[in-house]
Symmetry: C2
Subunit: 115 residues, 2 copies
């Protein structure tokens, strides 16, 4: 993820438990990331999912009105419906205002040891 | 993670890139989770790390003063120092105020398909 602007900005914390099997999830997840990146106020996204199927995706936005607009996006709505019917056992979504941010990186040039 | 109280509460979003190898990381991570759980204002934690070594841990707290107190905890300070010297290539920490939360769960009793 590219560096974000200085706070304040907003974070959408999406914690989800996948159902077994792909069922088209990977393609749709890639499509949603690309689609979100083109929305007004989008700042970035980072995502991790472990072998137990628990995943956390955090997307960053300029403000709550941008999050609301993305929520209303027609293709995003379809993905949410399919998420409920096929891909997720449960999920939680939290909208939070980022007040402070601090970044640290190793200085020995070994910043990306797993290419 | 047990259900959280209604917002507002705080989230610490910790995004990190691991260095290769364990180097005592797993034990210390378990210890930090257990230690954090005993701190005033601690509400919960959730964590995911993918095969690429990128991890996201979100801990939840009653308020910023609780986060500041945990930051000052002596054993936590030692873990942070070791994190910088041994475990992480880079990380970002964000403190955010959770304003809204929404949870959804499948109703067919298949809520935890990957025991």
């Amino acid at each position: 993820m590219d560096p974000l602007p200085q706070p304040p900005y907003y974070a959408v914390i999406f914690t989800s438990q996948r159902t077994p099997g792909d069922q088209g999830y990977g393609d749709m997840a890639d499509r949603m990331v690309a689609l979100a990146a083109g929305q007004p106020g989008y700042l970035g996204v980072e995502s991790a999912r472990g072998d137990d199927g628990l995943g956390i995706t955090v997307s960053y936005w300029r403000g709550p009105e941008d999050i609301a607009a993305w929520r209303r996006h027609a293709e995003h709505k379809v993905a949410r419906d399919t998420g409920r019917s096929d891909w997720y056992a449960h999920y939680t979504l939290r909208v939070a205002k980022v007040e402070r941010a601090y970044a640290w990186a190793r200085e020995d040039g070994n910043q990306d040891p797993r290419p």
